[in-house]
Amino acid sequence: MMTTAVITPEEIIKKGKIVFEKTKLMNDCTLSYCPGCGHGVAHRLVMEVVDEMGIEQDTIGVAPVGCSVLAYEFMNIDMQQAAHGRAPAVATGIKRVFPEKYVFTYQGDGDLAAIGTAETIHACNRGENIVIIFVNNGIYGMTGGQMAPTTLPGMKSSTSPYGRVVETMGYPLKITEMVATLPGVAYATRQAVHTAKLVTKTKKAIIKAFQNQKDKKGTSIIEIVSNCNSGWKMTPVESNKWLDENMLAYFPLGDIKK
C-alpha cells in the first residue's frame, strides 16, 4: 500500500511558490462579464501594469459605453465614465490639464471604431500622450450582439442575421492600421488574450504603451482581439477557436507601428 505524504496548506502557499496572485488594483467584486469573456483578462493586465509601474496614484482611466462601462467598479484607481465613443476626447481633456498624470481609455470596437471614430482619429492625430486599450470582439456585446464596424464578412449578428453583406454593410474596419499612419501615433499593435502566451505578449505591449506615455512619445494604441462568446452564440472554448481561425485571419496579430 502506498503512503501519501501530507502537505499542509501553509507549505503549499509558502513564499516563493506563489506564481500568481490576485491583481492588487482589481477590486474584490463580481465582474459583470460573461464567463469566458476576454474583457476580464484585459482589465487585469492593465491594472497589473499600473501596479507594477507604481503609478496608481497618478493614473486616471476612462471607461467607455459597452460591456466595460462598469470598468470603474473593477479598477481601484480614479476613473471617469465617458459617453459612447467620446473617451479619447475625455482623455484629451484630462491629459491637457494634468500632463503629469497617466491617462488611458478602455474602449470596445463599436465605441472606438463606429460612434467614436472622429474622436479616436483626432486624438491620435494630435498625438495625445495617452494609452488607448481597444478591445475588438467584432460585435456590440453590451446591447445584445448587433453588427459592429469590425464584424467579419458573412458573420452573423442580430442586425446582420444572414451574415454581414459587404456590398451594403461595408467591410470590417481596420482602424488600428489607419491610425498607425498618423505621425502622432507612437505605437500601434494588435494583440490577443485567449492563450497564456498571448496574455504575456499583451502585457508586454501594455507596459511599452505606458512607458511611451512616461517618455511623452505620443499616442499608443493596443488593439486586443477578443471573444464575445455570448454575442457570437458559442461556448467560450468554441469562441476562442473561432477567434483563432476567423478573427485573426482578418485582424493579424503583431506590431503595426513601433
Binding site: 496614484q57 462598469l70 476613473m79 465614465q81 491629459k95 491637457r96
Partner: protein, 363 residues
C-alpha cells in the same frame, strides 16, 4: 490690475476667462462666436497663465474635453453658437448627471437648422428647459452688455462650482459682435493642483492616493432605485438654486402700468422702448431676467398684482413667454412680440406692438 478697454463681447468673454483663472478652453469655430477661440489663440494664455486652449475636431469632442478636465476639478469652458450647442447637448446632459461644474457660452444665431448667422434668441427652450435628455437644469445667465459678457465668466464658474452643475451664458450674435467699453477684472491666479485637491479632492479624479477611496465620475446607475435617489439629489440642488440664485434688473417698474420682459439684445431694445413710451406718456417698465434659469417668477408675479399687462419681447417665435405666463398666473394679459430669422426688431416696431396691446386691454 483692472483695465478699461473697448472690446467685442466675444473678446471680452475670452479675456475675462484668462483673467478669471480658467484652466482650459476647448472650442470649435462657428459664427458669430469664432472670436472667442481666435482671441485666445492670439493671446496665448498658455504663456500668460498656463491656461490650455485647444481647437477640437467638433463641438462633441470639445464638450467631452471639458468633461474630462472638469472631472479633474479644473475650471473648463467652451463656447459655440446654436448648431454647435445642439451637438454639445449630449455632453451637457452627461455633465449634469455626473455633477460636473463647467461654463458653456451660446452666442445664439437664428435657427432652426443651419438657419442664419445673424443674432437670434430661439434657443431659449433648449437652454432653459433642459435641451439634452433627462431631468436636469442649467443655470442660465443672460448678458445684455459687453461688460456682462466679461463679468458672467467669473460669476458662472462660482455658480458652477457651488452647485457642481454646468452653467450656460446665453448670449446672442449682437452682444457677441458689438464693441463696448468694458472694465476687465484683475488677473486671478489659477488654482494649484494642491489647492484643487484640497477643495475638490472629495470628488475630483486627481489620482487616487492611499489615503482615500477612489473617485469615480459617472452618470450611470444601473439600479433604478439608486438612480432615483440620484435624481432626487439633483432636484434638491435645483430647488436650492431656484431659491438662492434668481437675478434680474428692474427698469422703471415701480410706477409702470405696462411691463416689457426681455433679456439680452431684446432687453437693450426694450429699454429704449420704455424711454420712447414714457416720452409719449405711457408708463412703461422693463423687467430684465439676468438668470433665465432660475427664472425670476416671484418678482413677475408681484408685479402682476399692479400691472395691466406684460409683453415678452424675444427674437424668437415666443419661448420665454411661456415662463412669463406661468409667473403671471393669469393675473394680467401677457403678449409676445418677436422677430425671427436673425432680424432684430427696431424700438419703434416694439413700441407699436406695446401700444396695440395696451389698446386691446383698454377696450
Amino acid at each position: 490690475m483692472e483695465e478699461v478697454k473697448l472690446m467685442k463681447g466675444n473678446e471680452a468673454m475670452a479675456e475675462a476667462a484668462i483673467r478669471s483663472g480658467v484652466d482650459a478652453y476647448f472650442g470649435y469655430p462657428i459664427t458669430p462666436q469664432s472670436e472667442v477661440i481666435e482671441y485666445l489663440m492670439h493671446e496665448e494664455p498658455f504663456k500668460r497663465t498656463g491656461m490650455v486652449v485647444l481647437q477640437a475636431e467638433s463641438e462633441l469632442a470639445a464638450i467631452n474635453m471639458v468633461y474630462g478636465a472638469a472631472a479633474c476639478g479644473k475650471k473648463a469652458m467652451t463656447s459655440s453658437s446654436s448648431p454647435g450647442i445642439s451637438l454639445k447637448l449630449e455632453g451637457i446632459s452627461y455633465m449634469a448627471g455626473a455633477e460636473l461644474p463647467c461654463l458653456i457660452a451660446n452666442v445664439m444665431r437664428g435657427g432652426p437648422g443651419l438657419g442664419t448667422i445673424q443674432p437670434g434668441q430661439s434657443d431659449y427652450f433648449q437652454a432653459v428647459k433642459g435641451g439634452g435628455h433627462g431631468d436636469y437644469n442649467l443655470i442660465v445667465l443672460a448678458p445684455s452688455t459687453v461688460q456682462e459678457m466679461a463679468d458672467f465668466v467669473n460669476l458662472g464658474f462660482d455658480l458652477a462650482f457651488k452647485y457642481r452643475n454646468p452653467v450656460m451664458i446665453l448670449s446672442d450674435g449682437a452682444i457677441g459682435q458689438m464693441m463696448e467699453k468694458v472694465t476687465l477684472p484683475k488677473q486671478k491666479e489659477r488654482l494649484s493642483n494642491e489647492e484643487i485637491i484640497k477643495r475638490y479632492g472629495s470628488w475630483a479624479t486627481t489620482g487616487k492616493p492611499e489615503s482615500r477611496e477612489r473617485n469615480i465620475i459617472t452618470s450611470l446607475n444601473l439600479k433604478s432605485e439608486l438612480q432615483e435617489i440620484h435624481n432626487q439629489h439633483l432636484q434638491n440642488k435645483f430647488k436650492t438654486a431656484e431659491k438662492n440664485e434668481v437675478r434680474y434688473e428692474q427698469i422703471q417698474c415701480e410706477d409702470a402700468d405696462y411691463i416689457l420682459v426681455a433679456y439680452g439684445t431684446s432687453a437693450r431694445i426694450s429699454q429704449k422702448v420704455v424711454q420712447l413710451g414714457r416720452e409719449k406718456g405711457l408708463k412703461l417698465g422693463l423687467l430684465r431676467p439676468i438668470t433665465l434659469w432660475p427664472f425670476p417668477k416671484k418678482i413677475i408675479s408681484e408685479l402682476a398684482d399692479h400691472t395691466k399687462g406684460f409683453l415678452s419681447v424675444e427674437m424668437s417665435a415666443g419661448q420665454m413667454i411661456e415662463d412669463v405666463l406661468l409667473a403671471v398666473e393669469g393675473k394680467a394679459p401677457v403678449a409676445h412680440f418677436g422677430r425671427m430669422g436673425g432680424m432684430i426688431p427696431s424700438p419703434s416696431e416694439v413700441l407699436d406692438a406695446v401700444e396695440k396691446e395696451i389698446n386691446k386691454i383698454l377696450k
